[in-house]
């Protein structure tokens, strides 16, 4: 006989694990967590060891790659997502940055009045155990996620790092010892969820401590294929497990499958834009134009300088970043600028890159279905760096990097600009080479029903449905000016409040 749950959570990622832990705190509530990826126990070293981050991305089976085209020349880059318990939090670079206050102000202005900075600050505080600011009114000290800034601005640093920081300060950037203030700017010590060298994913911080709860059932390698919908209610969740399609029934269903797969599950279930559903022969159960739309991400462009011939192994780049405004009139910092370790190829000059990460996107992309097969990855159209304002912002940040690196005080570490060339068309270079910062959001946008692109209301319930919620990065109306993992966790926490 099919088991019935009070809550079924589809997707054990950053949001899903947080929601599963919070919602199963009440022992009377039966919670089922379905995760498409594996749930390896113990967590493999390549995932757990923070120093193996690059190796994890390049070698592990837990990273999904979604080919995405650049408009200018049709070349391909890859949007990424984690497919493992913990989702993005199990494969990301472990930066734990809050959204800026300006981001939440924007969400409020778009009709989500319950998502103000003041409303969300208690949620952000309860997530964290901040090691550096435990007594600050802005921070929490006893939440599940360990937060620490491994590099602080008063620490000793190698000569090139110190020169980089001093040069940035000389260019007018303030010191920003705590990046997780309301609107951070300047030379910032970055917070990370790394404890004693170990990744503190939502698997580790939220799920592992509560796995023994008898009211929490966790099923991994269970990819949800569709929802059976009758009227305004989800009656069943269908998922593939061990080669069989299985079903589970729940009073409440929360989609936390991420920015690519939450809209995929909705569309495969007949919820989405009519034209898109009809194109694939899917019966329209509930027309919602916004499903899969409103996709946004952060574009990254690398400036590569010639490195010094003499290079010391202890010139390690610590975990800090610059947050700058490409235009002083902007309400908050709109770029991360990151000093990168060198690339060394035998026989070539040493390459010293500095990256510019645009933290906003004026245009909108979309996620769409290639087929009715739930196992097939959905298509991603990013449309990054297509708006003249975004391109202008990027070239402005590139000019900032050029000014920073080509100053006399930096000459010992940064030689001539190799790529793009000083006389190249930097806008074209940016549009032809940008990559993703892997912060895709927005494909099940939160907003009032009067907004035809809104998929969920501000209580995260799907418009027109009685027992279906979406809680992950897909509900973000705009991409935050920050790495998105903490915001996704915050959404998982938030849905647990809303269902409670």
């Amino acid at each position: 006989m099919q088991q019935r749950y009070d809550v079924i959570i589809v997707g054990g990622g950053s949001a899903g694990c947080a929601a599963a832990m919070r919602l199963s705190e009440d022992p009377r509530r039966q919670v089922l967590l379905l995760e498409a990826g594996a749930d390896p126990q113990p967590i493999p070293d390549i995932v757990a060891d923070a120093d193996k981050q690059t190796k994890l991305l390049l070698e592990s089976p837990y990273v999904m790659m979604y080919p995405t085209q650049r408009a200018i020349d049709g070349s391909t880059f890859y949007s990424l997502a984690g497919r493992i318990m913990g989702g993005g939090s199990s494969v990301n670079v472990m930066s734990l940055l809050r959204p800026m206050k300006h981001d939440l102000d924007t969400w409020v202005a778009q009709g989500n009045s319950d998502w103000s900075y003041e409303d969300l600050l208690p949620v952000m505080k309860r997530i964290e155990a901040d090691q550096d600011y435990p007594d600050s009114p802005l921070h929490g000290s006893d939440g599940p996620i360990y937060v620490k800034r491994p590099f602080t601005l008063d620490m000793p640093a190698s000569d090139p790092v110190r020169a980089f920081i001093e040069r940035a300060k000389a260019m007018g950037l303030p010191e920003c010892p705590d990046l997780n203030v309301a609107n951070s700017l300047g030379v910032c010590a970055s917070p990370y969820n790394i404890k004693n060298g170990t990744r503190q994913s939502t698997t580790v911080a939220y799920l592992d401590p509560v796995r023994s709860r008898s009211n929490l059932q966790i099923v991994a390698e269970a990819a949800v294929t569709s929802l059976k919908i009758v009227g305004r209610r989800v009656e069943e969740v269908r998922y593939a497990k061990d080669g069989q399609i299985q079903t589970a029934a729940g009073e409440q269903v929360v989609l936390s499958a991420g920015v690519f797969h939450s809209p995929q599950v909705l569309m495969l279930s007949g919820i989405g834009p009519v034209k898109e559903l009809e194109r694939l022969g899917i019966s329209v159960v509930h027309a919602l134009d916004g499903v899969g739309e409103n996709y946004q991400d952060h574009a990254v462009v690398y400036m590569t300088f010639e490195g010094p011939t003499e290079f010391r192994a202890d010139w390690v780049v610590p975990r800090f970043r610059l947050i700058i405004k490409s235009d002083p009139k902007l309400p908050c910092g709109n770029f991360h600028v990151v000093m990168r370790p060198p690339t060394i190829v035998q026989g070539l000059k040493r390459m010293m890159p500095i990256s510019a990460h645009l933290l906003e996107q004026r245009t909108r992309g979309r996620v769409s279905l290639h087929s009715l097969d739930a196992q097939e990855l959905p298509g991603v159209e990013a449309h990054m760096l297509e708006d003249p304002g975004d391109i202008e912002a990027m070239t402005s940040a590139m000019e900032f990097i050029y000014d920073l690196a080509q100053h006399d005080s930096m000459r010992a570490y940064y030689g001539p600009l190799l790529q793009p060339g000083p006389k190249d068309d930097w806008a074209r270079f940016a549009r032809a080479t940008f990559d993703s910062y892997h912060h895709g959001v927005g494909t099940c946008m939160m907003g009032p029903a009067t907004d035809n692109k809104a998929v969920v209301d501000q209580r995260l319930r799907v418009h027109g449905m009685d027992n279906l919620w979406v809680a992950d990065a897909s509900i973000m109306p705009t991409v935050p000016h920050a790495n998105t993992n903490l915001t996704a966790i915050m959404i998982g926490e938030r849905v647990s409040d809303l269902l409670n």
Binding site: L58, V63, Y302, T343, V345, Q346, L348
Partner: protein, 145 residues
């Protein structure tokens, strides 16, 4: 790029596998397979990741003596990703003793290496080509003297 040699001589130099291989920077373990093909490897590190790119290069006459293509198929030792590249070189006579060399590369990466994407690969490819043509210029001039 201007080369101090007539077009046929530059073309002949590039068509010879030993001459071509001698212009590739950082090359290790070169094995001549036949008159137009060689195997080699290049060591590289990106931040904390170090590996070797092993490849087979085949020189293809596409439009003698004005154009040839070097077709490279390789695998990196870390991610086992495959990289396929077509380097097209065009030779235009500037005078009886001078040649203008043009070049363009189309690189296709399959596998995890693509995650490093243009952030690293394009800069590396550009520098490789720059160094290749610099060495070619020197070697052609030396052969002419």
């Amino acid at each position: 790029m201007g080369l101090e040699a007539p077009v046929p001589r530059v073309y002949g130099f590039l068509l010879d596998v030993d001459g071509f291989a001698s212009c590739v920077p950082g090359l290790e373990e070169v094995v001549r397979v036949d008159d137009r093909t060689f195997d080699g490897s290049i060591a590289a590190s990106v931040g904390p990741i170090s590996g070797t790119f092993s490849f087979r290069a085949r020189i293809v006459e596409s439009n003698p003596p004005r154009e040839l293509v070097a077709r490279v198929e390789g695998t990196d030792s870390v991610t086992r990703s495959t990289v396929n590249a077509d380097l097209t070189m065009t030779l235009d006579p500037v005078s009886a003793e001078h040649t203008e060399l043009g070049y363009r590369a189309v690189v296709d990466v399959h596998g995890r290496l693509a995650i490093l994407g243009d952030m690293v690969l394009r800069a590396t490819a550009t520098l490789l080509l720059e160094e290749f043509t610099k060495r070619l210029k020197e070697q052609v001039r030396a052969a002419t003297l």
